[in-house]
Amino acid sequence: MIPPSFQYHAPGSVDDAVALLSQYGDEAKLLAGGHSLLPMMKLRFAEPEHLVDINNIESLKGIREENGEIVIGAMTTESALISSALLQEKCPLLPEAAGLIGDPQVRNRGTIGGDIAHGDPANDHPALMMALDAIFTLVGPNGSRQVAANDFYLGTFYTALEADEILTEIRFSPQSPNTGASYHKLKRKTGDFATAAAAAVIEMSGDTCQRARITLTNLGPTALRVKDAEAVLVGQVITDDLIDQAAQKAMDICDPVQDLRGDVEYKTHMAGEMTRRAIKTAIERAKG
């Protein structure tokens, strides 16, 4: 449980951090909260020669409203998400889901950006970001660009982020009226990754679903958006039977890996069950 030696850098600005990434390329890794990277280093699964700690970059922290959008700095901690009055009012899904991540110590260090950019399908924010239609700002040596969460995840630990880029900001629209959101996460214990989890964001007009986003955590090589389940619901008067159909679509799309949390059959069924529960709760909340 002792990592090999590495060089430690602590830049004070995004530009300096990008410069270090440009200089060291694949030999460098960004250190955010460190709750994924440091265990991997201690197990010598990851052996970066250069560790670029971006915790000193103040501009990467904070939650604000800008031009009708919510903007979250990538180095904002899970604890900050949970305690944000702005999020509680305008995007209650995020504080609720962040409270299901890790444990208090992890949430005090762990950041939304680290969770998003690591590309681990077991992380919770990827599915949440996809359900919120979030847009990521990536800054590299040639300036910044924007990538939608739904286009960001390319494979396990493989994202649209280039080796010399930093995820700086996350933007999404506040929850619209008549909309409810929910994240149901099945886990073995505090601090564990999801055995299966589902996020649902659903806009209702009376008993009819107007819009739906349904996404899954830890049930495939990346977080998954279940468009087929959304299609089952949108434009329909919601019944238990329809919700079961949507849950079945989630089971159809998911491609989990057997581990000590459960085998493929169990995880597939839990994908359905979590989807069912997330949709039901989201609809209840949408109806107020």
């Binding site: 449980m1 002792i2 090999p4 030696s5 010598r44 444990d103 099945l186 073995r188 214990k189 505090t190 601090g191 564990d192 055995t195 000590l260 949390r261 459960g262 085998d263 059959e265 169990y266 069924h269 839990m270 359905g272 069950e273």
Partner: protein, 799 residues
Amino acid sequence: MAATAESLERKEKLQGIGCSRKRKEDPRFIQGKGIYVDDVKLPGMVYGALVRSPHAHARIKSINKEKALALPGVITVLTADDLKPLNLHWMPTLGSDVQAVLADEKVGFQLQEVAMVIAEERYIAADGVDLVEVEYEELPAITDPHKSMDPDAPIIREDLVGKDEVGHGKRLHDNHIFTWEAGDKDSTDAVFDKAEVTIKEEILNPRVHPCPIETCGCVASFDKINGHLTVHMTTQNSHLVRTVLAMLSGIPESKIRVITNDIGGGFGNKVPIYPGYVVAIVASIVLGRPVKWIESRIENLSTTGFARDYHGTAELAADKEGHIQALRFNVLADHGAFNAHVSATKWPAGLFSICTGSYDIPTAYVKVDAVFTNKAPGGVAYRCSLRVTEAVYLIERMIDILAQKLNIDKAEIRRRNFIQADQFPYNTSLGWTLDSGNYGPALDKVLKAVDYEGLRKEQAEKRAKGELMGIGISTFTEIVGAGPTKACDILGIGLFDSCEIRVNPTGSAIARMGTQSQGQGHETTYAQIIATELGIPSDEIQVEEGDTDKAPYGAGTWGSRTTPVGAAAVTKAARKIRDKARKIAAHLLEVSEDDLEWDVDQFRVKGVPDQVKTMKEIAMAAYSNVPEGMENGLEAVDYYDPPNFTFPFGAYVCVIDIDPQTGEIKVRRFYALDDCGTRINDMIIEGQIHGGLTEAFAVSMGQLIDFDEEGNLLGNSLMDYFVPTAVETPHWETDYTVTPSPHHPLGAKGVAESPHVGGIPCFSNAVIDALSHLGVTHVDMPHTAARIWKKLHELGVAK
């Protein structure tokens, strides 16, 4: 004479037996000021790190140290070949076997110790480990003990080929270790043949690990000038370790000192001697420098003493009213690659024959066959006495299954089979003499407290709605306090324990014991006993353990033996001092000893209330004014050899709800009544019950050391291995009755392991009770959501 208000006030000030005195240890623990082995730093200290095998079964073709030795800061790399000249490449185990200290030509389990890199810094040692090149030739591995004795099974222990026995009778196969039996086979078979009702179930106590928060480690320091070896280490039994080290090394025992400071939990895991200790000691002897070796979590979970792995086939014979007539338990025990299980010499299956439990079972037979597999060695008593959890689990599960078969209520069937209070002392059909017990009233108290009838009514209503609710009962009897030296020894040394007390001239005292706290609070409770026995305030009594140069010899703390054995030695040593104090008081008061009576903290002349000598006055007199012919001083030593074990018991009820769609179990209520005889400190007892129940919950609901077919351990970190946090841990309700042990000087029985032993079957009984109306009689632990869901899915309950 009735106690006066004045004497009651003096008694309260002592903080003696019965007082919920705050733990003396806590200020240092809470402030992070405990001293654990990894806090020990000695001048010139170097660090060892182990090279371990990635394979479970392989021949070692070569070991190349060159690259590691070339790394600046690496001092040496030790392998079996380096230990051979000292004859330390193998060491004896507590199971009458030998274990490779560093792998000698082959490895038998994954992460087995192959070499140790010694370096100036810990980080360099870790880098050095990566540079040692070991070439392996993989061999087929056995992970299922049921396949160990197949005719074509690969031989795990080639070093034992041709040996007919490993300490405990004839071996039947190269992978067989021993067969152990108790009871009367023929008469048991005869009862089964004629019985009205028989039941049979395969019941597994799966392989788990005690997982103390502090891993194992040591700092070995050999002084080349005077030939002294000092070892700071995490052990539950420092004196036995010293003896073993003397036997192994040839260093006179008087020149070996084992020091144990604070320990971050033991739970049986810190009883054995592990290879890392031995290599660190050898390295220190060779280098003449202190060597520190500390395990990582993965090393601790993967290689040090596991517990259980008992594969049982349990049978009961009964009449139609549910009266048990005979018990027949057969066990296949998986001991891993070396027979390093922890037990007393004469008890290769520990105290497993306590498996008749709290019940009057006239005929019984048990047989345990132990085999080798390609898994880590061990078989420690994880928060229980030797193999007692395994035994109690089987009987407490089986009596439920019998109730289910006969459609008798699960509380009622226990009442019908309880040993009655007037039957004690009770000789069990497997040879134990239960000293005391009062089981019926304990169960009744618990059933009333939880409104058992109301719970059963609620369960019936829920079942009608398709909901899953379970009520578990456990009415267990433990056997603890190993033990009478005529029956129990380890490496030939009897399992007595000891205490030495010295009272200073000004009336304070210091006491030293052969036991070893790992967090149990000995400094607090031992002082309370002495306070009551000698009238010295607890706060003025210094309690010390864990330094073999200071404390008298004892077998340490495990198997709940501290109170049954250690506390008895404390009591008897204190009483020796009080006897001498009485003589001094008689001398000072110029009366006969018979004219004196003891009153809290003083002797007084009967009928003359103002004629008193306090313990403080007597202490000073012991150093200045003793009767003619008496030696000065006020101290005593006692080595206590218990006449019998003690038999704490309890009645537990657990209520659970199962989410039928996810398989998740929610513990709604857990009510634990324990009878540990005389209670020394209620608060500490309650803390022990909470801890034991939490570990029972962990074992029952999630802990598992599992392997794939190649012998790779699945899940060797706390990400997977279940150690519950406060969030998962249920709320505990505790209660008690008091049935003193008739043979213990205080009537105390030991308590810390009861909740683990009794709790595990209670959880399982609740889970299976929730499924019993669906025809389920048993499911093996751990009751994880995934496993329960699988069962529910098979039954058509889960979608």
